[in-house]
């Protein structure tokens, strides 16, 4: 198997001299993977620790210090390491990983999490659950939309479907359990909420989240590398578009001419 850890490093600083493994519990996942678990809940603090460890692992892998490691999978509360058992073992990998983090300053500027702003048409046929949600939250529709727009979200993880992003945290007044009866088809592009999370469906899929609106631009493109817009740790905001802009963006996307770089918010303004 070919080691393929070469995605850009996300610069989440860990304390110099502190083992990024501190507080992680090892859980076996067969003879070719193990999981380092930091907790069992969805919290920003856990995400930060997972991201820090993932960055540490990827730096070591890029330096050739982890032969046999195939790839890592960050989740809300853990990091999975998948390896080739012909080449290494969990004990061997952990010995290397346990050494205190060094060279934290070597991360290139610009490697940090990206900020994306996605166009969304809220409500109507594209957001069939908006009215019911507004009633539930005792807010007018446009106020609910404003609160969803005003809260930049972090990408906790990707999974469930290829490119499906779990974003959080949605403002607390919009926290709701999943639908008791999942839909058999949620259209691609749907922006939906459940619990403290917002999700965006890159594909038509069954789904049990409340649909607020729809994003007309493609979130997955297998002809591009990487095929997915986001990675864990990125920041995502939304921009309210009307039906005309929605249709125009959808048309450009259908023609395969949409440039996803237009969704990146430039972050070089801060001093």
């Amino acid at each position: 198997m070919s080691p393929s850890i070469d995605r850009g490093t996300t610069a989440t600083p860990t304390g110099i001299g502190v083992s990024p493994l501190a507080g992680a519990e090892r859980r076996d996942a067969g003879d070719s993977a193990f999981i380092l678990e930091f907790g069992t809940t969805i919290e920003r603090s856990l995400l930060d620790r997972v991201s820090a460890l993932d960055a540490h692992v990827r730096r070591l892998a890029a330096d050739g210090a982890l032969p046999g490691l195939i790839e890592t999978v960050p989740t809300f509360r853990s990091l999975a390491l998948l390896f080739d058992p012909l080449l290494t073992t969990p004990a061997h990998l952990l010995t290397t990983l346990a050494e205190p983090a060094r060279n934290e300053g070597s991360t290139e500027p610009g490697d940090g999490p990206a900020t994306w702003v996605l166009p969304v048409l809220y409500g109507g046929d594209h957001g069939p659950d908006l009215d019911a949600l507004a009633t539930e939250a005792a807010l007018p529709d446009d106020e609910l939309v404003r609160r969803h727009l005003d809260t930049p979200l972090v990408v906790y993880m990707l999974g469930f479907l290829p490119g499906f992003a779990f974003l959080g945290d949605t403002p607390s007044e919009l926290h709701l359990p999943r639908l008791s009866e999942p839909r058999t088809r949620v259209p691609a592009g749907s922006v939906a909420i459940a619990m403290q999370l917002t999700g965006i469906y890159p594909w038509d899929s069954p789904g049990g989240w409340h649909i607020l609106g729809n994003c007309p631009v493609p979130l997955f493109n297998g002809k591009l590398a990487p095929p997915v817009l986001f990675q864990a740790g990125d920041i995502v905001g939304f921009r309210n578009v009307d039906i005309h802009e929605y249709e125009a963006l959808a048309e450009v996307s259908r023609q395969g001419k949409f440039d996803r770089q237009t969704l990146v918010q430039k972050t070089d303004v801060a001093h």
Partner: protein
């Protein structure tokens, strides 16, 4: 010389698969790839391809290919009960698994039934498939790999480079002992603590039956419930899934997840099937009964390395086929004779 095979009939589910698409699980993209990696390597070696080259993975059978302009060498890796043939205008020969054959323009290659197992693999010498994101493996859910992101369909063409080198080859099947194996080995975890003592006892001492709903994502089992510790323990905050993860939804009936499964999920995973036993649940017929046995991680890694040694040994010990029906055509194709006529022309 570049030539092609036409898929006359694709069968129930035939996909192009290589070793897999690595490095993208963090984006929710599973590995895909052959479910029986040693068959893939052997079938490729039998036709003198690189061991990790792309092959056709066929479920149940019904696959039929027509040879177009040039001869083609193929090999099927499967259980001995496979039903396959090469049919030309004047004869039909039955194919044995674990050996290569040469088919000629106009011939029809059929993999009619995968026999006592649910899958078989066909390698084609010099087959060339464009890879996408590092692999030609088909993952139709995200339109990746295969032919235009899809499973094989009637009328598709498979392109290969014709190379008439050396005699046909044959080898043994390193899985032949495994089919009789009524035990699937696993390593406990990652979430075994979320199950009750009785649930774990059931898993490790009772019989389970493979159900008919099996595909490249996973295989469902039926048997005594693997009880969760409590209702709260029936769902977890999503955690990584790996090939071999045994997830247990609320109903207590385990599901063994395979190469095309989601990369993360919210059902607790009681244990993980060790990699060398992982082909079995996808191969054995629905209704097959077996037990699980928990082994230590060290023992699992040792077993994997041992099996790897056996496969390497088999790869090294390919034997040339002593042809049982020497025809002028095969001799010519194998380049063993040159310019000899059969005396009647």
């Amino acid at each position: 010389m570049s030539s092609s095979l036409t898929i006359v009939r694709a069968g129930l589910l035939s996909t192009l698969q290589d070793r897999g698409r690595f490095g993208l699980r963090h984006l929710g993209i599973p590995w895909s790839g052959c479910l029986v990696p040693c068959w893939q390597q052997l079938a490729n070696r039998l036709v003198r391809n690189a061991p990790d080259a792309c092959v056709i993975e066929c479920w149940e059978g019904g696959l039929q290919l027509k040879v177009e302009d040039y001869p083609v060498r193929i090999a099927i890796a499967s259980h001995t009960s496979v039903v396959a043939s090469i049919e030309s205008a004047d004869q039909k020969i039955s194919l044995k698994p674990m050996r290569s054959y040469t088919a000629h323009p106009g011939d029809t290659i059929a993999l009619s039934s995968t026999g006592n197992m649910r899958q078989a693999i066909m390698a084609i010498a010099g087959m060339s498939v464009e890879s996408q994101l590092g692999s030609a493996s088909t993952y139709a859910k995200a339109s990746l790999g295969g032919l235009n992101g899809n499973v094989l369909n009637n009328g598709n063409k498979i392109v290969f480079d014709y190379k008439p080198d050396g005699p046909d080859l044959t080898c043994t099947d390193p899985l032949s002992a495994a089919y009789q194996q009524k035990v699937i080995r696993l390593v406990m975890g990652p979430q075994e603590t979320l199950f009750s003592e009785e649930g774990l006892h059931n898993l490790l001492s009772e019989e389970y039956v493979l159900r008919s709903d099996a595909d490249r994502m996973g295989v469902r089992l039926a048997g005594p419930s693997v009880f969760h510790r409590s209702d709260d323990a029936k769902n977890i905050v999503s955690d990584a899934i790996v090939p071999g993860s045994i997830q247990v939804p609320g109903n207590g009936q385990p599901i063994i997840l395979l190469s095309d499964a989601h990369t993360a999920g919210g059902y607790p995973k009681v244990a993980t099937v060790i990699s060398i036993d992982l082909p079995l649940p996808g191969l054995l017929r629905a209704g097959t009964r077996f037990r699980f046995r928990a082994i230590s991680l060290d023992d699992a890694i040792r077993a994997t390395r041992q099996q790897h040694g056996l496969v390497q040994e088999t790869l090294k010990n390919m034997k040339p086929v002593i042809s049982d029906s020497l025809s002028t055509q095969t001799l010519l194709a194998n380049n063993l004779i040159d310019g000899v006529t059969d005396g009647t022309s």
